[in-house]
């Protein structure tokens, strides 16, 4: 009985494989990866959510472009800017606190449905609109995340590729530099830099941080290149007369792109936590600019009396980091050639039906 069942499962397995193979017939590697990624539910939800979050955050506030005295103002949809100081609201707050949030996200139970109100996330000590502050902080954090991601990805890939492709003394020198940087804990370098350049703006800080966070990626890329450069297709390209640059960028890099993308996404989620952590310690973005970490740091003692000053920035950090993490996970699964799609019940039923049909036909 058991034996018969085993044989049956083996056959079902074979037909499952057939389904999977059929699905990838005639598709390029990129298309296969894309399909796998789209099928990863958590990752897709994260993509949509993160995209809408970014849209929300970046369109909320006014953009001031150009000179300080007479800027060109691109109006945002929210009525306050993070520098505005409306009057502090005293009325209808629980426990005698001031500037409480007016957001009402519970649809029916309390009667008035969803509304934003005057100050959805409340107000800070001097009456600034907290929603505008959180939006500004999230803008900074997302900006820092992308800048660090892009710089670290470029540097890490290029240096890792050169080091792995050329080997020899180039590799030795580059990897020693990597060793030097990688042994100093990131938080230490970042604090040293952040303390002295934090007041120059978030973007400047992010660029500097990007110069010290590429090391892990470059090691990974080097490893990939070391193994890929021994493969036959590289020899073929070289025999065909391709230059080193062409081999690196056209032949090897596309094969290593999976490792790079995945590790960059994870790097980006680490970057957002790094930035908020630095700002929390006081070594990152400094006032008058706003960052999510700085907001939490400023109002951590207000938790018992005005918890909303603490909740909202934290929730935004978590939402962004969580989305990026899930996207990274989805990408990892999509690029992993060993990863087989989990067949749903419907697929399995199809497989069984196909098998039965074959048997009948036979």
């Amino acid at each position: 009985m058991a034996k018969k069942k085993k044989v049956e499962t083996a056959q079902v397995d074979a037909s499952e494989n057939a389904i999977l193979n059929k699905e990838t017939e005639g598709l390029s590697q990129g298309q296969i990866v894309f399909r796998r990624f789209v099928r990863h539910r958590a990752a897709m939800i994260s993509v949509v959510f993160l995209f809408s979050l970014i849209m929300l955050v970046y369109t909320a506030l006014d953009w001031r472009i150009g000179s300080k005295e007479d800027p060109f103002i691109l109006p945002g949809w929210w009525k306050y800017n993070f520098e505005d100081m409306p009057e502090l609201r005293f009325e209808d707050c629980p426990g005698g606190s001031v500037g409480c949030p007016t957001i009402d996200a519970v649809p029916f139970f309390d009667g008035d449905g969803i509304k934003m109100g005057e100050h959805p996330f409340g107000q800070d000590d001097i009456g600034r609109d907290y929603f505008a502050l959180v939006m500004r902080g999230a803008q900074r954090s997302i900006l820092v995340m992308f800048i660090i991601g892009i710089i670290a990805a470029t540097l890490g890939t290029v240096i890792g590729a050169i080091s792995g492709y050329f080997r020899g003394w180039v590799d030795a020198i580059l990897m020693r530099i990597v060793d030097f940087i990688i042994t100093i804990p990131v938080i230490i370098i970042a604090s040293v830099i952040g303390f002295h350049y934090g007041n120059k703006g978030a973007a400047f800080l992010a660029v500097l941080l990007g110069f010290f966070t590429w090391t892990g990626l470059s090691r990974l890329v080097r490893g990939e290149f070391l193994s890929l450069r021994e493969r036959e297709f590289v020899d073929a390209a070289r025999v065909a007369g391709a230059s080193n640059r062409r081999i690196i960028f056209k032949h090897i890099l596309p094969n290593a792109i999976g490792v790079i993308i995945v590790s960059v996404t994870l790097l980006m989620s680490a970057a957002i936590l790094l930035e908020t952590g630095l700002s929390f310690l006081g070594f990152g973005v400094t006032a008058p600019d706003v960052s999510l970490g700085l907001l939490i740091s400023t109002y951590q003692d207000a938790f018992t009396t005005r918890p909303w000053l603490f909740w909202y920035p934290g929730l935004f950090i978590i939402a962004i980091a969580l989305c990026v993490n899930f996207i990274g996970d989805g990408l990892r699964d999509a690029f992993d050639p060993r990863q087989r799609r989990r067949l749903s019940r419907k697929d399995k039923a199809n497989a069984r039906r196909m098998k039965n049909r074959n048997e009948v036909a036979a």
Binding site: T183, I184, V192, S269, L281, I318, R342
Partner: protein, 509 residues
């Protein structure tokens, strides 16, 4: 040997890099320049001479390095801090504090992380697995300073308030029981009937236990007593035997149960040992006795295959010893809570130990330090915990796909042996190197945690160094952290080659 040479070169390079980086970006006299003190010029001159600011940073680095190289002649000189205290003194005062924090956090993270990760891998694609994955990602995305504030509020302030009454309200009992019911039912997933049975059993047991604890005000005055120790002992004996050799091995089970019995009996003499004038020695003696008895017991009961049985009973006896220790700590609860310095607020949010205004017994002091450890440890452990869940899950899944696992199953070994002996051990090889390599990153993670909880450790020193432009102190701290990172990497590599004979360290590139 070559590796140790490379190690020093790396250490030299990274310290050179950091020194110049921070020397260039700091401006210690900037503040003075803006001041309007009458003897401004003199002050600037003094400071310049004191910090050797007349030399360019690379040259200053070598001045500093000359002092540090004194390590080899037994007379290291890391320079003075800005408060004219030797850096070595400052750091050696801070290291034990940080180590205490980090070690406990690491162990908590490792044990829980691996346990949950492995359970999650064995239940791949179940709700439990998805739940754990989501949980791990959530923990990855939580900023430690944010979670720390929540912990302070809910685990310290609110819990202290709760302890005043120490009664759990019915909604809480029901909520907690439902949560734990879900948790266990998800772990032992199976048919619907089985899941429901487990859910309701756990739910009822849990509510009964919580009601009992609430009615007896156990949380206000926690205690275990010999009977509970005995019950725990039997439970541990069964559990450890099941995991390590399987309940089929009568010899192992007998020895473990014997150990549980002996542990319970030794509860009373143990009190004498622990209450003596030298409690540390007493504790040591207790554990030595337990271990000796467990080895002797295994020799008596087992004729063949002694190794696994000795191991089993050893683990059992150490765990029972730990229970007796916990019980002793709980006995110190009442004097601890009622002392003036604690004043019924046992979970503190700031500082690494209570400043005792009066003389207190040894165990009260230990209990105080343990209570102070809880919050920062939790905050620090969460990050590592999440990555261990993910990593052990991934590794175990990889291992389970290997051919030797199929072989083990094919030759008819039972599932427990396959998992614990063949899969789990091979999972531990990559895990162990990750664990060792993580030590340095956890220590640097402690920088933020210490700041939040007001511990006077490496993190606080580092903070001070940056804010007061104290280059010597900064270099001292970072040299310590970098050497820790390099050393732990070296150990990880060596460990890997010891555990996995296929890998030889330093054999070609």
């Amino acid at each position: 040997m070559r590796r140790i040479g490379a190690l020093f070169i790396i250490l030299f390079g990274s310290s050179f890099l950091l020194f110049n980086l921070s020397a260039i970006s700091t401006d210690p006299i900037g503040e003075l320049r803006l001041s309007d003190a009458p003897n401004k010029e003199q002050l600037i001159l003094n400071l310049t001479r004191e910090l050797r600011l007349d030399l360019p940073p690379p040259v200053r680095y070598f001045v500093w390095l000359r002092g540090v190289l004194g390590v080899f002649i037994g007379n290291p000189n890391f320079g003075l801090t800005r408060e004219q205290e030797p850096v070595i003194t400052a750091i050696s005062g801070a290291i034990p504090v940080t180590i205490r924090l980090v070690i406990v956090a690491t162990f908590v993270a490792i044990f829980l992380g691996i346990a949950l990760g492995i359970t999650s891998a064995l239940r791949q694609y179940t709700r439990f697995d998805y739940g754990m994955t989501f949980f791990a990602f959530l923990l990855f995305s939580l900023p430690v300073f944010w979670i720390a504030v929540l912990l302070k509020q809910y685990l310290a302030i609110d819990f202290n308030d709760f302890l005043v009454n120490a009664t759990i309200s019915p909604p809480w009992i029901i909520g907690l029981s439902i949560a734990s019911g879900f948790f266990w039912a998800a772990i032992f997933s199976g048919t619907r009937k089985r899941v429901l049975t487990i859910f309701f059993t756990v739910f009822l047991a849990n509510s009964a236990l919580l009601t009992l604890l609430s009615a007896t005000k156990w949380f206000a005055y926690p205690r275990l007593g010999p009977i509970t120790v005995a019950l725990f002992g039997v439970g541990v004996a069964y559990g450890v035997t099941y995991l390590s050799v399987g309940l089929g091995s009568k010899a192992a089970l007998k020895t473990s149960l014997l150990m549980a019995g002996i542990g319970t009996i030794s509860y009373f003499p143990a009190q004498l040992l622990l209450n003596s004038n030298r409690p540390r020695l007493g504790l040591l003696i207790l554990f030595i006795i337990l271990i000796a008895v467990s080895i002797a017991g295994s020799f008596v009961f087992s004729k063949i295959d002694r190794g696994p049985i000795i191991r089993t009973s050893l683990i059992t006896s150490v765990l029972i010893g730990a229970f007796i220790l916990v019980d002793r700590l709980m006995q110190a609860w009442r004097p601890f809570v009622e002392s003036d310095d604690v004043n019924y607020r046992p979970v503190a949010t700031i500082g690494q130990s209570t400043i005792w205004l009066s003389e207190v017994p040894f165990w009260v002091r230990v209990l105080d330090q343990a209570m102070r450890l809880i919050l920062p440890t939790l905050a620090l452990a969460l990050g590592g915990f999440a990555s261990y869940i993910r990593f052990s899950r991934g590794t175990l899944l990889d291992v389970l796909n290997q051919d030797y696992i199929r072989t083990a199953r094919a030759k008819g070994l039972n599932e427990r042996t396959v998992i614990m002996r063949h899969a789990f051990r091979n999972t531990m090889i990559p895990m162990s190197t990750i664990l060792v390599g993580d030590v340095a990153s956890i220590v640097s993670g402690a920088i933020i945690t210490e700041r939040i909880f007001g511990w006077q450790g490496m993190g606080t020193l580092f903070n001070k160094a940056i804010v007061s432009f104290d280059l010597n102190l900064l270099m001292g701290v970072s040299i310590f952290l970098s050497s820790l990172a390099i050393l732990s990497n070296l150990i990880a590599d060596l460990l890997y080659s010891v555990l996995d004979p296929r890998i030889r360290v330093g054999a070609g590139k």
